[in-house]
């Protein structure tokens, strides 16, 4: 790995192309990864730390120390004493402009310090309560379940239906085949916003409003999916299907045991698309779901943005959680895709 990342053209010395290459790669890294890193780090900051200016990269919280005689840990400040020395003292309480501070090792000698003589001592601290509060504060588990359910079930159904259509369109010859295919592709030209109201009316008639199935079913058959899988299935040799037919395989068996396993790389690609799209889908669930217990994570995230006040710390924490599953799925399936393509010596 190290060898890969420090590869240069100049064989030990740095060629000008190496400077250029590493230059733009580093810039690219910051541009693409910077916001994500900022997001993750900020999700561990307290609310005030998020809104402070100038902003700091790492989540910092004020250092706290246990003082004997006090129940809770007391915040620590760096204090400039009248004689010019600086010490770190814990603050017991603050009244008006004067703060009563004490050295933790000598808790019986309180020192009075004006508040402009002290600055907080900050240390790296992860405000994990952003995450733990979520669990208790609102119905995070339910929203997560809704999102996961919709994504998984919709992906499975999408793979199933699209592959069946692609199989029919690629491996069978029937009159009207071309027309059907063109019809399916032509629906790509229709923006989803135009069919939003008709879709809503149909879903309403079917009684699927305000249910997760109402979100899942309408978009299961995607023209992109059919096209992608059909193109891949065209590369499967027809002789395999002939051989399977001679082997007494029924059409379903040919589909299920021969064609589908061999289409695995394309299925993985479609699965990635489907997961990413379904997980991030906002408009259609917003239209269909009206009761908050059916909300998906994206809709719940939306709910955090109030008219006047946005609770940024919770928003950020939930965004990070929302990002995680998609990242994991992508990472897992991507390896499968490249493996599948590499080993696809179909013979």
């Amino acid at each position: 790995m190290i060898g890969f990342f420090t590869r240069t053209r100049g064989q030990g010395r740095l060629d000008w192309t190496d400077w250029f290459t590493y230059g733009y790669l580093t810039i690219g890294l910051f541009l693409m990864f910077g916001p994500v890193a900022w997001l993750v780090l900020s999700s561990f900051k307290t609310e005030s730390a998020i809104t402070e200016f100038p902003p700091r990269l790492l989540p910092m919280g004020q250092k706290q120390v246990a003082v004997p005689g006090e129940e809770k840990p007391r915040p620590v400040y760096r204090v400039t004493l009248p004689d010019g020395t600086t010490r770190e003292l814990a603050e017991l309480r603050r009244i008006g402009l004067t703060s009563t501070m004490v050295d933790p090792s000598r808790p019986d000698e309180p020192i009075r310090v004006p508040i402009d003589q002290r600055t907080p001592v900050r240390e790296f601290k992860l405000a994990t309560e952003n995450y733990t509060d979520l669990a208790g504060k609102f119905d995070f588990g339910r929203y997560l379940w809704n999102s996961v359910f919709i994504t998984i079930v919709a992906t499975v159904l999408t793979l199933l239906f699209n592959s069946m259509a692609a199989f029919a369109l690629s491996k069978y010859r029937f009159s009207g085949q071309r027309t059907v295919f063109l019809l399916i592709l032509s629906t790509l030209m229709v923006p989803p916003t135009i069919v939003l109201v008709p879709n809503f009316l149909v879903v309403s008639e079917l009684g699927l409003l305000n249910s997760l199935w109402g979100v899942i079913w309408p978009a299961v058959a995607t023209p992109t999916g059919v096209f992608l899988l059909r193109q891949y299935m065209l590369t499967l040799p027809d002789e395999l299907i002939d051989a399977a037919r001679l082997d007494h395989a029924s059409e379903w068996r040919i589909y299920w045991r021969i064609v589908l396993p061999l289409t695995a790389p394309a299925l993985a690609v479609l699965a990635i698309f489907s997961v990413m799209w379904r997980w991030n889908d906002f408009l259609w669930p917003l239209v269909v779901l009206s009761k908050s217990e059916k909300f998906t994570l994206q809709l719940a995230l939306n709910a955090f943005q109030g008219d006047l006040v946005t609770q940024w710390n919770y928003l950020l924490a939930m965004t990070v959680i929302t990002l995680l599953p998609v990242t994991l799925v992508f990472a897992f399936l991507q390896k499968f895709v490249t493996q599948g393509i590499a080993s696809a010596g179909v013979k």
């Binding site: 051989a243 399977a244 037919r245 001679l246 007494h248 029924s250 080993s343 010596g345 013979k347």
Partner: protein, 364 residues
Amino acid sequence: MATLTLSNVVKEFGATRVIHGVDLAVADGEFVVFVGPSGCGKSTLLRLICGLESTTSGGIEIDGKPVNYVAAADRGLAMVFQSYALYPHMTVRQNMAFGLENIGTPRATIEAKVREAAALLRLDALLDRRPTQLSGGQRQRVAIGRAIVREPRIFLFDEPLSNLDAELRVSMRSEIIALHRRLEATMIYVTHDQVEAMTMADKIVVLRGGRVEQVGAPLDLYNRPANRFVAGFIGSPQMNFLPATLVAGSAGTATIALPGGRRLDVATTRADVPAIGTALTLGIRPEHAVPAQRATDADLTLTVTQLEQLGAHTLIHGTVAGGDTRMTMHIAGQSSLRAGDAVGVAIPPADARLFDAGDAGLAR
């Protein structure tokens, strides 16, 4: 094992007629080879027999029962494809067992049959490998094993050796012949290689443009070709075709004038003899034309253009009749001739074949 009968089978793809009324009878246990140039319809004919394509008209009968409307899988046939068509995501064992699983054969029976076929083809050590982990010859044997396991009435081979290298082809050829003898099965084999046809077949069917040119045993086709196409297709190097003119003819003999003037009497068996002066084609195989012992024996003079010395025998390429017609001679041993030399060629009348203007043979 089974007999196969084709009666006036016609196949059209849209407006194009690809198979023009083929009649054929295959006896039980015969090894029949369909041979012909690319595009002659031999693979199409095989697929029609197999049931992967349906006939436009005409009948196909297996063991006397018509199978035109019987599905491919129910005809009791097994096919070995040109590209083997092994399921790449299954192991060799699963490949061979797939067909039997589909008809609900008990697991124990499947195991036994797979083991038997694997032993016959020496695949025992490879049963758990995937096709991508096998060599070309091994994949070939797995494809044959898959066919054997189904215990079909007729085996169909669609150019199975064309994807193998030359050496492997020779050894696989003898393996298939041995298999035929061992299983005593009816086998139909499609190839474009006439050497395979000659060495393997009990009966050869020569096809051209969707029509059967001739059917017969390999040596019959070699010795008594029905027309110019078959004469030129069978035999390597190809038969020499020289222009000749009919000078005199009677029942059983035709006297022709060769380029260069010499006369030759050739036996014919056709009842109708063309008119005097008709242009005919004389066919003489390179191995039958002999260098003339004496100048007076020479029927033709060959001007040598090229020699191929193969050690045990020599191919002499040259031109006759003033450089217009090319001719090849195939003699045993080595030759001391050089390019530019003139050689007298004698044509034994018994080995000469005549073809008329329509390329039909005058001797049958």
